[in-house]
């Protein structure tokens, strides 16, 4: 939500020079262990409370999802998926079984953030040295390009103020040494927060435990297509992330966004400046086209 003196900025949107980066802060991560989640939504309430957000009361769409989607004032949503899951051969249970998978959706805080890449407003999206990706709302111009850049469909543009909103990973809390509100409120310990290193290590023990319990494909979701994320999941079915309300298997910044921002634009600026310079030198070399007859007439 706002820039913090206590957190160094690693990179900013539409900024072509280095950000101040003399301090080295360890990378942080939030680990969401889906196998330990009971779907109580305490995290949603804590998020509303800490960030002081009140969404409009919606309507029931036939699932426990409430609200039905992320909105400018709902930065996290529990997504409930009832799925028939193929159990692996090693499992003692039947071939397929019904599972209720509950995924806490929200910003993944990518190491290589597509939103930041797509944003044209200098410093409206920043990534702190600790890996948190934050929207600096007062610099946001409301163009909606972050929506285009995000591989997880997370940012939401408010129709009221035309600013983009999403989970800040409670950067204001983290900046003063606290854990995010959702992690603090989770009654089962399904949401943990710490250094990325520690979280990966803990996730490893969770995966090992799940494998012992028959989930042979259990895995940590830390997709490398976006350079890894600072919000990670432990998935029982790590080979089928799509089961979890369409979590993408190999999320990457769309090649179209790459082509647009990283290739086409610098080349095009060069082409436009080049055209003007070429015109200037062409004129100086060849000279103007004039009709001789008029000169005679006017002489």
């Amino acid at each position: 939500m706002s820039s913090l003196q206590s957190l160094d900025i690693a990179q900013g949107s539409a900024t072509t020079t280095s950000s101040p980066s003399v301090r080295k802060t360890p990378e942080v991560a939030k680990l969401i262990d889906i196998s330990s989640c009971i779907g109580c939504k305490a995290c949603q309430v804590a998020c509303m409370e800490w960030n002081d957000l009140r969404d409009e009361v919606g309507t029931n769409a036939g699932t426990y999802d409430n609200p039905n989607d992320l909105t400018p004032s709902s930065w996290t949503v529990m997504r409930f998926s009832e799925v028939m899951v193929k159990r692996d051969a090693a499992s003692t249970t039947q071939e397929t079984g019904l599972e209720w998978l509950i995924r806490k959706d929200g910003c993944m805080h990518c190491a290589d953030p597509g939103c930041l890449k797509a944003c044209p407003a200098p410093g409206a999206i920043v990534q702190y040295g600790n890996g948190i990706v934050d929207f600096i709302s007062e610099h946001c111009v409301g163009c909606g390009n972050c929506v285009t850049g995000c591989p997880f469909d997370v940012p939401r543009i408010s129709q009221k103020d035309n600013k983009a909103y999403k989970c800040s990973l409670c950067s204001d809390r983290v900046g003063v040494g606290l854990e995010p509100a959702c992690a603090k409120s989770c009654p089962t310990g399904a949401i943990r927060f710490g250094s990325k290193e520690d979280m990966l290590e803990f996730a490893g023990t969770r995966v090992a435990d799940l494998k012992e319990r028959g989930y042979a494909q259990a895995a940590v979701y830390d997709p490398q297509g976006v350079g890894g994320t600072h919000v990670m999941y432990v998935l029982q079915h790590g080979d089928q992330p799509e089961l979890y309300a369409g979590l993408p298997k190999n999320p990457v910044i769309s090649p179209m966004v790459w082509l647009w921002k990283s290739a086409a634009k610098p080349l095009a600026v060069a082409a436009m400046v080049g055209a003007v310079v070429a015109g200037f030198f062409h004129y100086m070399k060849v000279g103007p086209v004039e009709s001789k007859e008029d000169e005679k007439e006017s002489a």
């Binding site: 111009v141 543009i157 055209a275 009709s291």
Partner: protein, 208 residues
């Protein structure tokens, strides 16, 4: 404006006013759009009252430019139909750039280069409108993300085509002396017409 004896009328008042409306709107749309094109050009947003105002205004500049271009397009399109002579002119375009005007086949009201400018502007403006709508979320917030991705890419590409075309258009007017007055006064000299558009000159002077 009245034309003197040694002059020929090339554009009437309406056409000229239409042209300059497009030109002004082009500069507004281009400068406000370039602000978001590359970080090095973001300072241009200050001309429009900052980033948010720039974002609010740019689509309207573009929309009004498209509408006013439509007027000129309908007025001039039949004079810009591509013909076999245009192909021959284009094959000789290298000579033109070397300043060897004499080597060029005679042309009518518009040469092949001018016709290309006309059609490139028309096509890029149409693309700019169609793709711009895809991410004008103040009015159209519900387009799917894949459509917005195509939209932003094609919008940027078409914008570059349009800007480059305008650079060529403006340069041609500076390069070929006696051209700008066609749009500022409406008339050109007979000498200019004879040299640059001999077939049009014949049309204009036949029976006079």
């Amino acid at each position: 404006m009245k034309t003197a004896d040694n002059e020929l009328q090339r554009y009437d008042d309406r056409t000229r006013m239409n042209h300059w409306a497009i030109a002004l709107l082009f500069f507004l749309a281009a400068l406000s759009g370039l602000a978001f094109f590359h970080p090095s050009l973001y300072f241009l947003s200050a001309l429009f009252g900052g980033g948010s105002w720039d974002r609010i205004l740019h689509p309207y500049f573009g929309l009004f430019m498209f509408v006013s271009f439509l007027g000129l397009f309908l007025r001039l399109k039949h004079e810009n139909v591509w013909t076999a002579q245009d192909k021959a002119w284009l094959d000789q375009a290298g000579e033109m750039f070397r300043g060897n005007k004499a080597a060029m086949p005679p042309v009518g009201k518009y040469n092949a280069g001018q016709k290309l400018v006309f059609w490139l502007m028309a096509i890029s403006l149409l693309l700019l409108l169609l793709t711009g709508v895809l991410f004008w979320h103040a009015w159209f917030p519900h387009f799917p993300i894949w459509a917005r991705r195509i939209g932003v890419l094609l919008h940027a590409v078409s914008a570059v085509v349009l800007v480059l075309t305008v650079i060529v258009h403006v340069y041609a007017a500076i390069w070929v002396k006696g051209t700008t007055r066609a749009m500022t006064r409406g008339s050109v000299t007979r000498g200019w017409a004879k040299m640059n558009h001999p077939l049009w000159y014949e049309d204009m002077t036949r029976g006079k």
